[in-house]
Amino acid sequence: MLYGIQDISRNILGLGSRPGRLRPGEFWALDNASFNVQRGETLGIVGPNGSGKTTLLKILNGIFWPDKGHVRIQGKIGALIEVGAGFHPLLTGRENIYVNAAILGMTKKEVKGQFDAIVAFADIGDFLDAPVKHYSSGMYVRLGFAVAAHCQPDILLVDEVLAVGDEGFQRKCFDKIGELKKIGCTTIIISHNMHTISSFSDHVLLLDKGQAEHFQSPQDGIHGYNQLFFQQSDTEIDKNCSGNDSIQFVHVETSAKKLNPGDSFTFRLSYEAQHSFPDIEIDTAISNGSDSRLYFQATNRAFGRRIDINQGTGILEVTFKDIPLCQSWSKIILAIWSQKRTELLFWWRVPVEFRGQTYSSGRNLLNIEYQQEK
């Protein structure tokens, strides 16, 4: 608050606000984030939470002014930092379209001309004349995006806002973004969905703790993003692997964590069981590292294998045979349950890197081998 008074006093007196200097308690939300985007290009911005993505978008939009450095923009900006930010809950959708459009910088003529298109795009039916406080969150986003997408920007800034809409509407939004791109609209898009990033971006800006790295190829950017989380992943087995009083996993070994397509991956577990566990269930899966989508999942039952753990010590080996995955950051998951899944005995997710070029093997079945030693 004191800084605020200090800042505005300096501004009024024309003293300059001492750019580039931090006062106690302040930090650079963005530093060293230089990039440029040409007309008609799409830049994807990725990064962990709190890395400064939205701040960057707000600076580009002129909501925040930089304290150091500069921003140069040619063209009219349309920003979707939060859709429906200007909606008044008591007003109807129809009334809000006019107000919101005016706030987003449209002229009276533009709104009159675009009104029907906005209504058609939002597709909210009779709710158009109901107060927006009665809207579902999806309808809210529909109307908000419809207005913003029709203000004919030269540059469109999109924060992760479309996640709320249903599948059909999301596709409609991306179609609209693609359409705008075709007529030369520059797009800057923030998303945690790497699929969105890879299908839209021409290049990628990776932000981490306010520092930016610019990748010319979206694949490299996504790779860098995944690597951040790969490094953050827990590789400490003690923290993840459970076991309980009646069974202890004393030693766990895995094969190499960098794999080429067609390589195998093995878990080797040494255990000490206090009593026997008949007919255990071993759940195996491979998931996409960033969004936890599963590439593969099966239990030993699917392979018709019955496995018993007898009292005493022993070794259990589970091998993922000839994994046909190409370049990706993934997690290989192994979970061991007692019979009928009453107790989780062991659980571990191992981050692995698959290398090698994109290719189609024609196979998508995976074989798992189970071996027991005494």
């Binding site: 608050m1 605020g4 008074i5 800042d7 505005i8 501004n11 009024i12 024309g14 300059g16 606000s17 750019p19 440029n36 040409q38 007309r39 707000k58 600076i59 939009n61 002129g62 909501i63 925040f64 002014w65 930089p66 304290d67 150091k68 450095g69 500069h70 921003v71 140069r72 923009i73 040619q74 063209g75 009219k76 900006i77 920003a79 930092i81 939060e82 930010a85 200007g86 008044h88 008591l90 007003l91 009334e95 006019y98 107000v99 005016a102 706030i103 987003l104 910088g105 002229t107 009276k108 107060p131 030269d154």
Partner: protein, 292 residues
Amino acid sequence: MKLAEASKKEKTHLPEIFYEPDNSLKNGYFAMFAEIAKEIKNSRWLILQLFKRDLLATYKQSFIGIFWVIILPLVSVLTFIVLNHSGIFTVGQLDVPYPLFAVWGLTFWQTFSTGLLAASNSLVKAGSMVVKINFSKKALVIASASQALIPLAALTTLSFLLCLLYGFLPTMWIILIPILALPLLILLLGLGLILALLNGIIRDIGNILAMLITFLLFLTPILYPLPKGGSLARISLLNPLYYLINLPRDLILFGKSPHWTGFIWSSFAALLAFLLCLAAFHLTETRVAERI
């Protein structure tokens, strides 16, 4: 500097925007006013939309709706009539029935206080919008300050009807109300701009203002004539609000006023305050979003 090269290569008609620390004062104070004028001219439609929005929103989901505007001043007038009748408070000799005197005074007072409160809360109230959309904040404050026009119109009508009820015909000056009230509107807009900004940074401003406005109503000779002597009389002679409200009322009720000099000086003061506040707002509005 790659960007600069790129933009040189591609000479387009597109408007160029440049954000950099402290560039609002680069062209000097006079160019700044031209910029402000252009901004306000371009956002006329936005101001109208925001005004309509506030108007609709205030009176939706309410049974008596817009009549709330006249209820508050009516209650104040009634209180003073009761106080007057019971002898606790004496207004002395007036040439018109007291209710007419009071209600015309409150017409202008209510215009001022409604507009000032609405304007000073405008940025804080629209906080979520201010940090998510880049739009003209001046338009927002102006639209909120324009809420003052509603009590002005509603209470003028009410006061006029009350005059007819008392069989007292106001003078032709009543037609010139929009012009007579103009200095008051300029003053409230100027103060509204700077208070909105300060309220955005220090929330106490809003609370202090709400309290101060009530005080000011009783400290300014609006519901009673100027006392013959004493400290209140001396303070009032320095209070621009006293002149800006009493001259229009005198003209409407009597067709003449002893306050012309004070009114003209106060109008100049109002204009000066408005320009200063507008300039201060323009120089600092880029700081609003980060503090709100």
